[in-house]
Amino acid sequence: MSKVMSVAVKNLRKHYGDKEAVKGISFEISRGEIFGILGPNGAGKTTTLEMMEAMRSIDSGQVIIEGIDVTTHAEDVKRIIGVQPQSPAFQDKSKLTEIIELFGAAYGERVSPMTLLEEVQLADKAGSYTETLSGGQKQRLSIAAALVHNPKVFFMDEPTTGLDPQARHNLWDLVGQIQKKGVTVIITTHYMDEAELLCDRVAIMDNGEIIALDTPKHLIGSLLKKGFTKQQRVEQANLEDVFINLTGKGLRE
């Protein structure tokens, strides 16, 4: 991987009253990398993400995205990032094409809704109202809406929470396609299988600090080196493999 720096976070801090939610974290992400931020609830993942997205003020420290400082040039940063919220919602009585048009307009761009909807396999739903979409379809529409302006960095906050296995697999494929375009993807998740499969590197956060940062393979390797063994020998397949094998990979909506 050619190591062009895409995102740099230096000594980032955030207080909420007395509580220090983010305690001076630092990391760098290369262009085209899928970077996972893992951690239990309240670890400071969302706060970190929001500071990087210019949605929340930064107490101290610095975030540089594609060479632009988030603190001083918030609007310029917003023009080159795409943000996928945790539970995407859209105004009702709006067609999918109109939602895409609306997001394009928010960036001042005239876009081609059908092309974007085709990319996320929603072309057949183009004329429907948003309230008729399933959870997975809303996630995909949300991704299309976040890509209207060809962002260089793409933030996804727990994108697969609440989706069925087919929709999750489909979303992982989509994330892979986005990465292939050279987009840097930053993703938070509670699902370790998702992180292991998807992410080039992961940062594990707890209590506002990064307690581990490496590729999933290395993290597992170093744990094993410490002499860790699981109680039970891991099967060559798991229940999800059974489920997908029986029900197929095709999307259900």
């Binding site: 949605m55 009702d92 928010a106």
Partner: protein, 411 residues
């Protein structure tokens, strides 16, 4: 009535055309319009506003509940208040049948005079007294004038023509009948003077002032326009914003470069379009059903009302934009709206209030809108003559929008 039919037909045609277009006409998407036309930064900013305005307006007309509250709800009030105040019609007309049994020239002249008289509305289908009586019994006619065969004929011992018109009426329509008798007597006085010289030392003459007195309904109508503006400008946003915030829809927009002013301008433009349509419907109903006489210039009225909508919308944007959820928006909205609604003259005219209350209520933001709307529509004034109202509205506009911009929150 004709106006309503034309408008309804026009709306149906537009709707059908729109439906047909969306159903049968699928334009080919341009190959790659992503970065097709280079726009200047300002063009981009207004492109944002125009798309948001267009899609926002379109959504309104897909939402039956919004249409009900935005357009039909004020109409219901209009019908209720119009029913109470609108029926006090000063121009009395009498529906009368005229049966002419005389062949004299005077009789036919008299008939044609009667037909052009303002007070009498002649039912031409009635030709016999029998038919007239049946119609009077059914209440379709108030009275019937009968000219006997001798009417207008010069009798053998006289040098001038004479005659007696008979006015028939039922027990229930005696008032109309008596009125018709005195109308005819007044008419005959002129006729008599032509044949027999008479001197009339004492006379009375009516002089119409070149002024229009406003009816109570004129006041009510402008008040209802104000009520409708509140519905569109305040109740709209304070119901919609908490929902948009709850679902994170506004927050999502905040991740894009869109600015608060762009969002506000697009809201103002679409609410102005919706408001103008809603108010136009009210005008059509008021004119065609309640016979309100609009003497103002429609372009001026429209400009003034748009100004009013945009100003009042600022209150909705401030409350809805500040509130984090409906528990904050609803009470604050009611605190602001209800005093304004009752004190600014929406449901009853301000001149009925004690002086001190009139004085206080003149400072409310809605008052100059209602007063100005009345002065423009039925008061015979033009935009240049209502400077004090426009000034008050401009002052409120600045105050309201400064607050709205300061308190706005995306989530």
């Amino acid at each position: 009535m004709r106006v309503i039919i034309v408008v309804v037909v026009a709306l149906i045609i537009v709707r059908l055309a729109y439906w047909a277009k969306s159903r049968y006409w699928h334009p080919k998407e341009q190959a790659s319009p992503q970065y097709s036309k280079a726009m200047t930064p300002w063009q981009k900013k207004f492109f944002t506003v125009s798309v948001f305005t267009r899609l926002n307006t379109r959504r309104f007309f897909r939402d039956r509940l919004a249409i009900f509250f935005g357009i039909l709800f004020p109409l219901i009030f209009l019908f209720v208040f119009g029913g109470i105040y609108g029926s006090s019609n000063n121009n009395v007309t009498i529906d009368a049948g005229v049966i002419n049994r005389s062949s004299s020239r005077i009789a036919s002249e008299f008939i044609s005079n009667a037909k052009s008289a303002k007070v009498i509305k002649v039912d031409k289908s009635v030709t016999t007294l029998m038919a007239a009586e049946n119609k009077m019994i059914r209440g379709q006619l108030d009275a019937t004038i009968v000219l006997p065969p001798s009417f207008g004929v010069v009798a053998s011992h006289q040098t001038y023509p004479s005659g007696q018109a008979e006015v028939y009426y039922t027990n229930n329509s005696s008032q109309a009948g008596q009125t018709l008798v005195s109308v005819l007597e007044a008419e005959f006085q002129g006729l008599n003077a032509k044949y027999v010289p008479v001197t009339t030392p004492f006379t009375a003459v009516g002089k119409e002032l070149n002024q229009k007195s406003l009816t109570e309904f004129d006041y009510i109508f402008s008040g209802l326009l104000g009520f409708s503006i509140i519905g569109i400008g305040i109740f709209g946003p304070i119901n919609v914003f908490p929902e948009l915030k709850k679902q994170g829809i506004l927050r999502r927009f905040h991740t894009t470069p869109i600015k608060v002013w762009q969002y506000f301008v697009s809201m103002a433009a679409s609410q102005a379009i919706i408001g103008l349509i809603s108010l136009a419907v009210m005008f059509i109903v008021a004119i065609s059903v309640f016979h309100i006489k609009v003497i103002g210039n429609y372009a001026e009225i429209a400009i003034f009302l748009v100004f009013g909508i945009v100003m009042i919308l600022g209150i909705g944007l401030a409350i809805g934009g500040w509130a984090r959820n409906e528990r904050q928006a609803a009470p604050l909205g009611n605190i602001v709206v209800f005093p304004m609604m009752f004190l600014s003259g929406t449901f009853f005219p301000r001149y009925l209030m004690p002086d001190w209350l009139q004085h206080i209520s003149s400072y409310l933001p809605l008052t100059p809108i209602i007063d100005g709307a009345r002065l423009l529509t039925t008061g015979g004034q033009s935009l240049t003559q209502i400077g004090s109202q426009l000034g008050a509205m401009a002052a409120w506009l600045i105050i309201i929008y400064v607050i709205a911009f300061r308190v706005f929150r995306w989530e």
